[in-house]
Symmetry: C2
Subunit: 355 residues, 2 copies
DNA sequence: CCTTAGCACTCTCGGGCCGAGACTGCTAAG
DNA sequence: CTTAGCAGTCTCGGCCCGAGAGTGCTAAGG
């Protein structure tokens, strides 16, 4: 194999042939022959000429042959080039935009419901797997703390973030606390910690503990006791995966053992989160292809992802997972649009209409 | 085929042979031959004799032959008989009990986390699909109502049930309500509606609306406005499905199209809920085999399910889904135990230790 | 020098054939 | 009633083969 040249050195004809091969393969899932390219592309060239071009492209590492007498298949590099400069990004069709708005902003409900709808939309509209990483409450801005007496010394602590996400945890306190006092403590905590991220709140709490250790009155001590438990709770971000069954329709998973590895991967939420989280730095849609990720390595899978947020703040990531052979022309704008739509839906639902 | 006799008419020998065939098939997934039964069962009979017995069992509808020169496979009736009176139910092994306790009661967290752990345990310990139906809040006893101002006229309403389940919804009110008043209204609603099921609370609300329409003061009117929205919210029960990938390991799903249908079924949550819900009337473990359910019909799947609850009240259902060829001897006691363990965990976590 | 028609070559895929192996049902003897 | 023996049946894997698809190379033509 020859060293790959600067992609810009490719002649327009080379590029057109490569574009055609990738586009055709994405639709057909079968090796693309020189003849089919010659027929479809209106280059006015014969199959023999196309064959020469394709042989060059293979030398340069953009195409590969499953076996001697088969057509060509795009490599990872071909997909990258295709996405960067060969394909023409399509607009998300009007009906899809409308459909998304209807399901995201239309039905209110709570934040969790909206996130679920988003992952379902991703999967439904792309026929791939939709993934949404829900925010770690530790990173979000605290809005309110509520304490609900359950029974005995158990108290349910409810944290509400400004984006409307909630997390709950049962706390067991050393003594029974009457309901009125719980309300007072909750108010106190809300006043003191609302508006800052839970991470900061935790720091502030530690400072309070150090400074005022001596002159704490009983109620303050109790409040701090609650705060200690409450702020410790917000765990890792969660993940929603939707449409795993869509994958079984793809011919690349005809072989069961691959399908099984795929599903096992999805089930491993921590790994999924760590991969998707890379997306959080750097805006815009990002694409990982094939071996770019541990996740998709041997499986020839791709991940198209972006972030969503609440106001300025990025909250989490969302994306589509499927075989590398994926309709990037449609999927990339879809992910882009859905990231914005989700951000908008959260803003509208939880921060008053932007009239 | 001859009319099936009363199963009690089966001779002890017939029963032993049938038991052996079912047990062997469950482990091997392959048609069972007369020879293998003769060797394993210590009846001191030759394969030829077993063949005669098996031919009878086939006539009576308990066994079937995939093709002329293959061994026998159990029918649905055979499974039923096996479960009712042939198998010897095993105790859940000590290590599993311990493992379950550790993961269910050990780690506190909130109700949702416990439910997730339960479905995961079901799947992990059975190598089948674990399913848990989470309670519909409409059926549970209300513990508390909290109102959190979000911004503008948006208010987040948090409902807490006595078993520690929460549901949230964003409400848009006609005018901005100050925080103190929200707290007062929340207290009012909590006092008036705590301790009754949400269904009853809804009825009570309607009565209040009818009676006091004329002499309502402003605050009461506002409270009722909130209650109307808040109590309308608790939706359908949710469902947690875990371990779908376990299924792909079973030889009965070697064929992709069946696997796909299976996954589609799991994704259809409303249908799953309606099937599992049948379990809610009538205690104890129940088993549906093959065509017993729309769900499992053509797929030759079985469902082993039971209920869990909080105190006296049944809250939801939980179970295991897998091929009819399932280790009922282990799975049935496992489901039974997990139903109790989950009830216990909810009680311990949310109602003070039963010391 | 680039393009193209023609041709030989290679590799896959599906069908048909065959023999080994696995069970059964039947029959006749113990 | 049980059982050994045997013939009969069906599946499964391996093998071969021909059709089809595509390529690379070569030589002729613009």
């Amino acid at each position: 194999m020859v060293d790959r040249p600067d992609p810009r050195k490719l002649s327009p004809r080379d590029r057109e042939v490569l574009r055609q091969v990738v586009a055709t393969y994405i639709l057909s899932a079968e090796p693309v022959s020189s003849r089919s390219v010659a027929k479809q592309a209106d280059l006015g060239l014969s199959a023999a000429t196309i064959r020469n071009v394709m042989a060059d492209l293979e030398d340069w590492g953009f195409l590969a042959q499953p076996h001697t007498s088969a057509g060509r298949v795009p490599t990872r590099d071909a997909y990258h080039l295709f996405i960067e400069s060969l394909m023409e990004v399509r607009r998300v069709p009007a009906w899809q935009r409308r459909y998304i708005e209807d399901h995201l902003s239309g039905a209110p409900g709570d934040a969790e419901q909206i996130m679920g709808a988003a992952s379902h939309l991703l999967s439904e509209l792309s026929h791939q797997v939709g993934v949404v990483v829900t925010p770690s409450l530790a990173e979000t801005v605290l809005k309110s703390v509520e304490l609900v007496p359950l029974s005995g010394r158990k108290v349910l602590c409810v944290l509400v973030s400004s984006a409307g996400f909630t997390d709950t945890k049962v706390i067991e306190v050393p003594e029974v606390v009457p309901r009125e006092e719980l309300i007072r403590i909750a108010s106190y905590l809300t006043e003191n910690f609302a508006g800052v991220s839970i991470r900061e709140a935790r720091d502030r709490l530690l400072r309070m503990l150090a400074e005022e250790r001596a002159q704490m009155d009983r109620q303050l001590a109790l409040a701090i006791e609650f705060a200690k438990h409450a702020l410790a709770l917000p765990g890792d971000p969660g993940i929603l995966v939707d449409g795993a069954s869509e994958l079984l329709a793809h011919p690349e998973l005809a072989d069961i053992s691959r399908a099984r590895r795929m599903f096992d991967t999805f089930a491993d939420k921590t790994r999924m989160v760590s991969i998707l989280s890379r997306c959080l730095q750097g805006g815009g849609v990002r694409v990982w292809i094939g071996e770019d990720t541990d996740l998709t390595s041997e499986l020839d899978f791709s991940l198209v992802a972006t972030t969503y947020g609440f106001g300025e703040r990025p909250l989490g990531a969302l994306g589509i997972l499927g075989p590398s052979r994926m309709e990037y022309e449609k999927v990339i704008p879809l992910v882009d649009y859905l990231g914005e739509a989700l951000s908008r839906a959260l803003a509208e639902t939880f921060a008053g209409r932007t009239e």
